[in-house]
């Protein structure tokens, strides 16, 4: 029996309630507070009185284990990407990724830079990407509404894609960082290992 079967079996029991679950997930997106790059500066206006995303049930949350929504708010360097991947893997399923700006899509203004990752989608699955440099708070709101719709329709399936194509993602990650980077870096961050 594989890992996936268990989850399928569990979900089947509650299939009747699935629409309810989706609705509930959509209404309580908790953001992992790990903003990378320029886009992090769009978060305060989003949270303040003008846009106030808390009325949609969105909340900024310091722990990846309780988060649903991972915002990649801008350029990603190999150094941050390592942290992003590990944080993403720590999050519980289902989890969604919203990428801000052109940098995660194709490198943006840094497309010939030596340390900006050009296609984030090669390393972790993105559900919604917002184009623009930098996207205004309205655009981010629009992206969040899109991701809500996708959750309701069951189209936001990045976490499933990551699980199914793990070999491919792993291969790309290893190509960029070199084999055994997880162990090596974990030892550097967590001194007691």
């Amino acid at each position: 029996m594989q890992n996936g079967d268990v989850i399928h079996y569990e979900l089947k029991e509650f299939q009747v309630f699935e629409p309810l679950f989706r609705w509930a997930r959509k209404k309580s997106l908790w953001i992992v507070a790990f903003c990378t790059g320029c886009g992090g500066i769009e978060m305060p206006p989003l949270a303040n009185a003008r846009y106030d995303f808390e009325r949609f049930g969105i909340m900024i949350n310091p722990s990846p284990r309780m988060g649903d929504l991972f915002l990649i708010t801008g350029y990603v360097t190999p150094k941050t990407l390592k942290r992003i991947i590990i944080t993403y893997e720590m999050m519980q399923d289902p989890k969604y990724i919203l990428a801000h700006g052109s940098c995660p899509i194709n490198g943006g203004v840094y497309w010939d830079s030596y340390n900006v990752v050009k296609q984030l989608d090669k390393y972790i699955p993105i559900d919604v990407a917002i184009a623009g440099c930098m996207p205004r708070a309205e655009a981010v709101m629009d992206g969040i509404t899109t991701i809500m719709k996708k959750i309701e329709n069951g189209e936001a399936d990045g976490w499933k894609r990551y699980r199914e194509n793990y070999e491919w993602y792993r291969k790309n990650q290893d190509e960029l960082f070199g084999e055994g980077w997880r162990e090596k870096d974990a030892r550097r961050w967590l001194a007691w290992i």
Partner: protein
């Protein structure tokens, strides 16, 4: 013929221009302000340096590299704070320009102390004994440009990944585009060297 004899070079006889006036040293006049006085006092103690006032609250010194430590030690009496060490790569001249940016807390004046060193085998003495904070800036300059600060105990990989550390990516002769292609693959779109389809 004696092997040790040096080949004779025709000596050029310089024509002496008659009525040659002694060239007057046109040193920039130092204004009679706080900045001007600061520069004047410092130049009196360190005659090997050049100094000028750029504008209000900004002065500039140019110092030969051998005496930079000595000069900074003198300067630290008036300019108590080291704000940054920045580097400019003059590729055609084969030189690095190292800028020490100092701030005078007592006079509120910002000073640039510039010095030039050759690009290959770039070496400078550390100024950690004057300002301990220099450690970080020197490590950064070492990592991005490959300048060796003698006496700094922590020079080594700092911000960059190890594979970039060896390349010194802010040197002007580092080809970022070809480096990005080899690391990230050629399949990222929108790279176009002729820049005809250059889109951001």
């Amino acid at each position: 013929m004696d092997m040790n004899e040096k080949p004779k070079v025709e000596e050029k006889v310089e024509e002496k221009v008659e009525n040659a006036q002694p060239v007057e040293e046109n040193k920039p006049e130092l204004p009679d302000t706080t900045e001007g006085k600061l520069v004047e006092v410092l130049l009196e103690k360190a005659p090997y340096a050049e100094g000028e006032v750029i504008r209000k609250r900004r002065v500039k010194f140019t110092v030969p590299a051998e005496r930079i430590h000595e000069f900074l030690e003198l300067a630290s009496e008036k300019f108590e704070m080291l704000m940054q060490i920045s580097v400019v790569d003059w590729l055609k001249e084969g030189q690095f320009e190292v800028n020490y940016q100092l701030w005078s807390l007592s006079e509120s004046v910002h000073a640039f102390v510039k010095t030039r060193i050759p690009r290959d085998d770039a070496k400078l003495p550390t100024v950690m004994d004057i300002w301990p904070v220099a450690e970080t800036y020197e490590r950064e300059a070492h990592e991005f440009f490959g300048i060796i600060f003698e006496g700094n105990p922590r020079l080594g990989p700092f911000i960059l990944e190890p594979r970039e550390y060896e390349k010194h990516p802010l040197r002007k002769d580092f080809n970022t585009l070809s480096y990005a292609k080899t690391i990230y693959g050629e399949d990222f779109d929108r790279f176009d060297e002729s820049k005809t389809n250059y889109v951001i």
